[in-house]
């Protein structure tokens, strides 16, 4: 009999009420029960737990799992590498990125990511962090934007960009999300993003809204943030980019959106394209006044 079964049999009340003493007691009993087969465990489990009790405790257990992971986010490795990349001359022009303007002025990083996407006069378009960094890499270092767009995720120039993104967003950790809708182009792309969010297409009739327009829903065990609500949008927008434990990779929002659209069974979104920026703008504006906590740690 496993600790798992025992804890389930004892139910929620005990889980909340009894402390270490009980746990130790159970620990002692484990040794005696080790040879019991899976069949018995399963039997006990079935007869002992009503569906709702189990549902509730599995959510609780997932919280425990995430809490245990929250310390020492491997994204720190990417932040450190990104800081190097920011300060080290690179590319055909052999320059560093200290003059990159992310909206608050050349080289100003503090809080910059929490105010993106925004309109940039030099490019005359609204840009998210990744597309703006591509502008910097191209203008300052002479690295071709197309080479970044064409690279597979996590490889070559996209891997370099990931690290830079990790560094830049770490300098906004704890900032309040403040995305402007003053400029007409900012308003226009928000409206396009909203329309895209509700657009159903493809063989499964999916839109972003199919999964992300209600509170407290989940796919498998994974909660789905309601991106139409300020709280849900802030929770999602404010915790990406993130390190994903399922594949041990650092994902930027561009990567996150790419995989959303894949699972939506849509065609392939071009990296840094207006559709991806429009969807980001919809999320980010809805998240306004929320807390920017990236880089996060995700399943």
């Amino acid at each position: 009999m496993t600790a798992h079964t025992l804890r389930l049999r004892l139910g929620l009340g005990l889980r909340l009420g009894l402390g270490l003493g009980l746990r130790l007691g159970l620990g002692l009993r484990l040794g005696l029960g080790l040879r019991l087969g899976l069949g018995l465990c399963l039997g006990l489990w079935l007869c002992a737990s009503a569906g709702w009790v189990f549902a509730q405790s599995s959510t609780e257990d997932i919280t425990q799992y995430r809490d245990m992971l929250s310390d020492s986010n491997p994204a720190e490795l990417y932040i450190a590498a990104g800081e190097d990349k920011w300060n080290t001359p690179a590319g055909p022009k052999k320059t560093n990125l200290k003059y990159c303007d992310l909206g608050l002025g050349a080289g100003k990083l503090e809080g910059a990511a929490a105010q993106l996407p925004r309109y940039f006069k030099d490019t005359d378009r609204v840009q998210d962090l990744e597309s703006r960094l591509m502008t910097c890499l191209s203008q300052l270092q002479g690295i071709s934007e197309q080479s970044i767009i064409d690279a597979p995720f996590g490889e070559g120039p996209k891997k370099d960009l990931n690290e830079i993104v990790a560094y830049v967003v770490s300098r906004s950790k704890g900032a309040i999300i403040k995305v402007s809708t003053q400029h007409p182009k900012e308003q226009a792309i928000y409206a396009l993003g909203k329309k895209a969010f509700y657009t159903q297409a493809g063989p499964y009739d999916f839109s972003c809204a199919s999964c992300h327009s209600q509170d407290a829903k989940r796919i498998r065990l994974q909660e789905l943030p309601n991106l139409t609500s300020p709280a849900g949008a802030a929770q999602a927008w404010g915790s990406w980019p993130a390190y994903r434990v399922s594949n041990g990779e650092f994902w930027t929002m561009q990567h996150r959106l790419n995989d959303c659209l894949r699972q939506q069974h849509w065609p392939y979104p071009v990296y840094g394209s207006d559709l991806t920026i429009a969807l980001s703008m919809f999320m980010a504006v809805n998240a306004n006044e929320g807390l920017y906590q990236a880089p996060g740690l995700k399943r």
Partner: protein, 98 residues
């Protein structure tokens, strides 16, 4: 490597994060071929020249490994962290306990 070493009341808490793919040899790449095993097998930590921690890993330690341990030490201790992997790569980092 990211090493955090902080002293509190004579006890030093050490957290180490290492960038490493920790390929188990069982994972298939996109073209369907097995990716060969390649993982860190040994991680050791010396404090002021004396070994205080030694970890041995198989392929079932997670990608970008993390370990946390504690030893009796002091602020200013020099820690040397060394890892070795199955392709005979190794890396050594130093950090001063704060």
């Amino acid at each position: 490597m990211r090493i955090r070493a902080q002293e509190n009341k004579g006890r030093v808490d050490v957290k180490i994060l290492i960038r490493h793919d920790m390929e188990s040899g069982l994972r298939k790449s996109q073209n369907g071929n097995l990716v060969p095993a390649w993982y860190i097998h040994t991680l050791k930590v010396e404090a002021q020249g004396t070994e205080v921690f030694n970890a041995q890993f198989g392929p079932a330690v997670s990608r970008d490994p993390f370990v946390n341990f504690r030893y009796q030490g002091a602020k200013g201790d020099k820690l040397i962290v060394t890892w070795m992997d199955t392709q005979n790569d190794s890396r050594r980092d130093e950090v001063i306990v704060s």
